[in-house]
Amino acid sequence: METSSSRSVTGSFPVKRGLAEMLKGGVIMDVVTPEQAKIAEDAGACAVMALERVPADIRRDGGVARMSDPEMIQGIQAAVTIPVMAKARIGHFVEAQILQALGVDFIDESEVLTPADEAHHIDKFKFTTPFVCGATNLGEALRRISEGAAMIRSKGEAGTGNVVEAVRHLRSIFGDIKKIGTADSAELFEWAKRLQAPLSLVQEIAETGQLPVPLFCAGGLATPADAAFAMQLGAHSVFVGSGIFKSDNPALRAKAIVEATTHFMDADVLARVSTAIGAPMTGIGMDEINQRYAERGW
């Protein structure tokens, strides 16, 4: 049969961004064992994040948080058929090289781990594997995109079970996108300066009214209502970290959060799936924590 002779291209930006597009409308769940990964897949997670400790435990234990043991990541890859993500420390491009060699589907350059470089993030264009990075505001999001991130997630405050910071970050990002939409062409130069972001990306936002890559919500989501809240605010998907496996009944809660993310506009469904799923993680207030992970990253 006749086929085209052009060569296949792997690792291009459209291919990376394509996977981010496929994860929209879904829930990405933090898991620390193959058993948890199976529970997540059973519940309908669209991907899992393989890590050694969930953020709530990293927060409790202190010390240096690093990339996970490859053996643990491979165990999770073997346990599920859905995409497997894993975290590298900010700036630690060798951890990222290892994660790419392991064949993870997405690398999270994450502030939840202890930063490895105080000035530089990873040059993500050098990798075949797509990257997701956290952001607290539009400038941070655009800097990460200019470094090659194929997906942005609002940072929120991981491991707290408190949605307030994620909401602050989403509102800040969407608020500035709206304002840029009404700016004239001369004002865009000032926006680029103020955001410390490339002018070309600011101009693109002015034209399209959205980020050039999908924007997911992370950091503190603990209930089906939290997930639907993030979606109604405009997030394309949600990451749920400690919120599932630090709750009373992870399997039930995971399934409920998946349904809430799909049917985020349907209050009857939200009421049904929020019923009788056991207690959520306890959570902590922002004035009770001594380390804000969201402040990591530059």
């Binding site: 086929t3 792997t10 291919v15 990376k16 394509g18 994860l23 997670a45 859905i82 589907d105 797509p130």
Partner: protein
């Protein structure tokens, strides 16, 4: 002016927004489908890429799976891309034991048959009825390993079919919604148009 075609895009999870945009660019009226009620008044359905296991769960939970199987048996037009094609295939290889099929196409499809994300690729492919190649994105794509006797292969890459049709069901292993080329969506809309002539709403 001809009345607009009303197309549903299954929006349980995945790349539904990109499909909705492509269909609007073709001039169709689009509705996102999450419940059985959302099917009322639509003339064809697109099942997007995403995670087939997630969609399978949500199809069962919403009661949509039985309704859709019934519709597809009666020739209701459907277009599945990537995970959407997996949902339509009669035989799913490397799936989960509890994964459902909507059984609209006599295909054997292997999930992630082209590999993990690092193996995802862009490739120009030849579609038999097109004058120029189509630029295709394959993302953790499923492989069509076998096709039934009534399945027409519209495009292949290497030795594998990548775009197939049987009756009013169209499917591909790649992502036409991620490029600006609307030719494959137009093939689907012509199936919908022909079906609607004989089966008015």
């Amino acid at each position: 002016m001809e009345p607009k075609l009303h197309i549903g895009v299954l929006a349980l999870q995945g790349a539904f927004a990109a499909h909705a945009q492509a269909l609007r660019d073709c001039g169709a009226e689009v509705r996102l489908v999450r419940t059985q009620e959302d099917l009322n008044g639509i003339q064809g359905l697109v099942i997007p890429g995403g995670e087939s296991t997630t969609m399978s769960n949500l199809l069962v939970a919403s009661g949509l799976s039985e309704v859709l199987k019934e519709r597809f048996q009666h020739g209701f037009p459907v277009f599945g891309t990537c995970a959407g094609m997996i949902m339509l295939a009669e035989t799913i290889l490397d799936g989960r034991a509890d994964q459902i099929s909507l059984g609209a196409l006599e295909l054997d499809v292997r999930r992630n048959g082209y590999g993990r994300q690092n193996d995802s690729f862009e490739q120009d492919i030849v579609v038999h009825s097109f004058e120029t190649p189509f630029h295709a994105l394959f993302i953790r794509a499923p492989v069509i390993e076998a096709v039934g006797s009534d399945v027409e292969v519209l495009a292949s890459w290497g030795d594998r079919p990548v775009l197939v049709r049987s009756g009013n069901a169209l499917a591909c292993s790649f992502h036409p919604e991620l490029v600006s080329d609307l030719r494959i969506h137009r093939i689907f809309l012509s199936l919908v148009e022909n079906f609607s002539v004989t089966n008015p709403r």
